[in-house]
C-alpha cells in the first residue's frame, strides 16, 4: 500500500489485512511497554488545514507508539494563512524529509493531489477531505463492529450480512461515504436515513438504500446504528427548520433507543452533540461504542502507518 486516500477501491483482502494488523496493534496497548520500534527514524507530518483535535491526536498517538517522529502542522497561524499554496507547503515538507503525511483539508481531493502531483515522495494518508472521504474513520468503525461481533475470533473475518443504518447529515458527511464503500466491500448492507435536504441528490451509484423515516428504520432491527454529527460548520443553508425538530424526527432519543434490540451496536464518530442527534442514555449505554471507537482509532491508524511506511517503498 503506497497511500491511503479512500476506501472506495480498497480491496476486501487489503481491508481485512489492515484490520487484522490493527488487532495486533490493539494488543500492544495491553503490554508493559506500549511502544514498538518499527518506524524508528521515520518522520510523520500531521498536515491539518481544518480544525480537528481527535483525529490529530489519534494519528499522533499512533505514530508515536510506532516510534516515528511527529511534526504537527496546522494551517492556523502558519505560512498557509500568509497565502502559501499546497504545492509550496508540500515541497517544504519534502525538503524536510517527511516519510508520511497525514492530511486533512477542506477541499475534496486535496490528498489525491498531494499523492499524484509528484511534489512529495511521502506516503499520504487522507484524514478527511471536504465532503469526500475519511478512510481511517471508516476502518476504525469496521474494526469496532467486527470486534463487537466476533470478539477475540475477529481476525480474517469480514462483516458479511451485517445491517448498518447510518443516520444524519449524509450530504456533507465524508464519514458516511467512506463507511459506505468499506462496509459494502466487507459484505455489510448499508441504509442511509436523513432529512430529504441532507441526502445527496442522486444516490443511484451508491450500493445503499435510503429513506427519511428513522422510526421505520429502527423497527427494521438493524445490527448497527451509526449517528452522524450535525456539522454546524457546514450548515450554510436551512437544511432543517431548527435543531429541536431535527432531534425529534432524526435523533436517537431515549424512546427510539429503547426500541432497539439490546445487542444493537450504537456508534458515533464524535464529537457528539448530546441531546441533538443522540441522547445521553444512548451514548452512555452498554451498546454504545463511542469510547471504543476512540481507542480502536489509534490501533487502526497504527496499522495504516505501518502498511504505508514500512517496507521498501520502491516495491510497493
Amino acid at each position: 500500500m503506497r497511500h491511503l486516500l479512500s476506501t472506495k477501491g480498497l480491496s476486501r483482502g487489503d481491508a481485512i489485512r489492515l484490520l487484522d494488523i490493527a488487532e495486533d496493534m490493539a494488543d500492544v496497548a495491553n503490554r508493559e511497554v506500549k511502544k514498538l520500534p518499527t518506524l524508528r527514524g521515520k518522520t510523520v507530518v500531521n498536515l491539518f488545514f481544518e480544525d480537528s483535535t481527535r483525529t490529530r491526536i489519534s494519528f499522533e498517538a499512533a505514530a508515536k507508539r510506532l516510534s516515528a517522529d511527529v511534526i504537527n502542522f496546522s494551517a492556523k497561524g502558519s505560512s498557509v494563512s500568509k497565502g502559501e499554496s499546497l504545492k509550496d507547503t508540500a515541497q517544504t515538507l519534502a525538503a524536510m524529509g517527511a516519510d508520511g503525511v497525514v492530511i486533512r483539508h477542506p477541499a475534496s481531493g486535496a490528498p489525491h493531489v498531494l499523492a499524484e502531483s509528484g511534489w512529495i515522495d511521502a506516503g499520504i494518508i487522507n484524514a478527511g477531505d471536504g465532503t469526500h472521504e475519511h478512510p481511517t474513520q471508516a476502518l476504525l468503525d469496521a474494526f469496532t463492529i467486527r470486534r463487537r461481533l466476533h470478539r477475540s475470533a475477529a481476525r480474517g473475518k469480514g462483516l458479511d450480512g451485517v445491517t448498518v443504518t447510518i443516520v444524519g447529515d449524509v450530504l456533507h458527511s465524508r464519514v458516511a461515504r467512506s463507511n459506505l464503500w468499506l462496509l459494502t466491500t466487507l459484505g455489510a448492507h448499508v441504509t442511509f436515513i436523513a432529512p430529504p435536504t441532507l441526502l445527496p441528490m442522486d444516490m443511484s451509484a451508491w450500493p445503499a438504500e435510503s429513506g427519511f423515516d428513522l422510526d421505520a428504520a429502527i423497527d427494521a432491527g438493524p445490527d448497527v446504528v451509526m449517528m452522524l454529527r450535525i456539522q454546524q460548520e457546514r450548515m450554510n443553508a436551512a437544511f432543517f427548520p431548527n435543531s429541536r425538530e431535527y432531534s425529534r424526527r432524526w435523533g436517537l432519543d431515549d424512546e427510539r433507543f429503547g426500541r432497539l434490540a439490546p445487542t444493537t451496536i450504537v456508534m458515533h464518530p464524535g464529537p457528539m452533540n448530546r441531546g441533538l442527534e443522540i441522547s445521553s442514555a444512548a451514548a452512555d449505554s452498554a451498546g454504545s461504542t463511542v469510547r471504543e471507537q476512540v481507542a480502536n482509532g489509534v490501533s487502526v491508524r497504527m496499522a495504516a502507518l505501518y502498511l504505508l511506511l514500512s517496507g521498501d517503498r520502491e516495491d510497493s
Binding site: 488487532e23 495486533d24 494488543d27 503490554r31 511497554v33 510506532l66 505501518y306 517496507g311
Partner: protein, 193 residues
C-alpha cells in the same frame, strides 16, 4: 534437487530430546514459559510443551504462547511489507525462564528481534533458545541452547522445514544451491532468514 535430511520420526525424536534437555537444564518445568516464533516455531513450541507435560506429569502448568517479531526486525525498510502475526504471551513473564523456539537458526537476526520484543513484555530471569535446525552463518553473537540438528550449509542452499500443523506434511530438506534457483514459496524463504 531437494534432499530430505530429517523425516517425521527424526523430527519427533529431536523434539523429545530437546524437551528432556530443557527439563534437565532447568531442573524441572517450574516457572517455564515456552514461546514459539511464528509461523513454524509456534507449532514446535506447542509440541515441546506437550512433550514436557508427558515426561513430567507434575509439570501441569507449562505455559506456551507465540511471539511475533515482525515489528522488531532490522530489515523492514529493505523488503516488501511483512504482515505481522499474532503475539500471545500467556500471563506475566517477569521472573520466569523463557524458552524461545524457532525452526531454523541462520543469521540470528530473528532472535535479536525476538529478544527486543521480549523485553517489551517483561523481564524474564533467563532466556534460552531452542531450534530444530542450526544451519550456521551467524551474523550476530547469538547461539542456541538446544539444537535438533546441526546442518552445516552453504549460503547458496535453502533449508525447507515442513510441519504437519502448518504444511500438512513433515520433513526438513535442503535444496542444493545455484542449480535449483531460489523460487520456492516465500513461507519457506522466511524460515531460512
Amino acid at each position: 534437487m531437494a534432499r530430505t535430511v530429517l523425516n517425521q520420526a527424526d523430527i519427533t525424536r529431536a523434539l523429545t530430546r530437546i524437551s528432556h534437555e530443557i527439563l534437565e537444564s532447568n531442573r524441572g518445568a517450574e516457572n517455564l514459559v515456552i514461546l514459539g516464533i511464528p509461523t513454524r516455531g509456534v507449532a514446535l513450541a506447542r509440541r515441546i510443551a506437550e512433550t514436557i507435560a508427558r515426561i513430567e506429569p507434575t509439570a501441569s502448568d507449562v505455559r506456551v504462547g507465540s511471539l511475533d517479531v515482525t515489528m522488531y526486525r532490522d530489515d523492514l525498510g529493505q523488503t516488501r511489507t511483512r504482515t505481522p502475526t499474532r503475539t500471545e504471551v500467556p500471563g506475566s513473564i517477569d521472573g520466569v525462564t523463557v524458552v524461545l523456539v524457532d525452526d531454523v537458526l541462520y543469521s540470528g537476526r530473528t532472535i535479536r528481534a525476538a529478544l527486543d520484543a521480549l523485553g517489551d513484555h517483561g523481564r524474564p530471569t533467563i532466556v534460552q533458545l531452542a531450534v530444530l535446525v542450526d544451519r550456521g552463518h551467524r551474523e550476530l553473537p547469538i547461539r542456541a541452547d538446544f539444537v535438533g540438528k546441526n546442518l552445516p550449509s552453504s549460503t547458496e542452499e535453502r533449508i525447507n522445514v515442513h510441519l504437519l500443523e502448518v504444511d500438512g506434511d513433515e520433513f526438513v530438506s535442503i535444496d542444493g544451491g545455484r542449480l535449483d534457483g531460489r523460487v520456492a514459496d516465500d513461507g519457506a524463504a522466511e524460515d531460512a532468514s
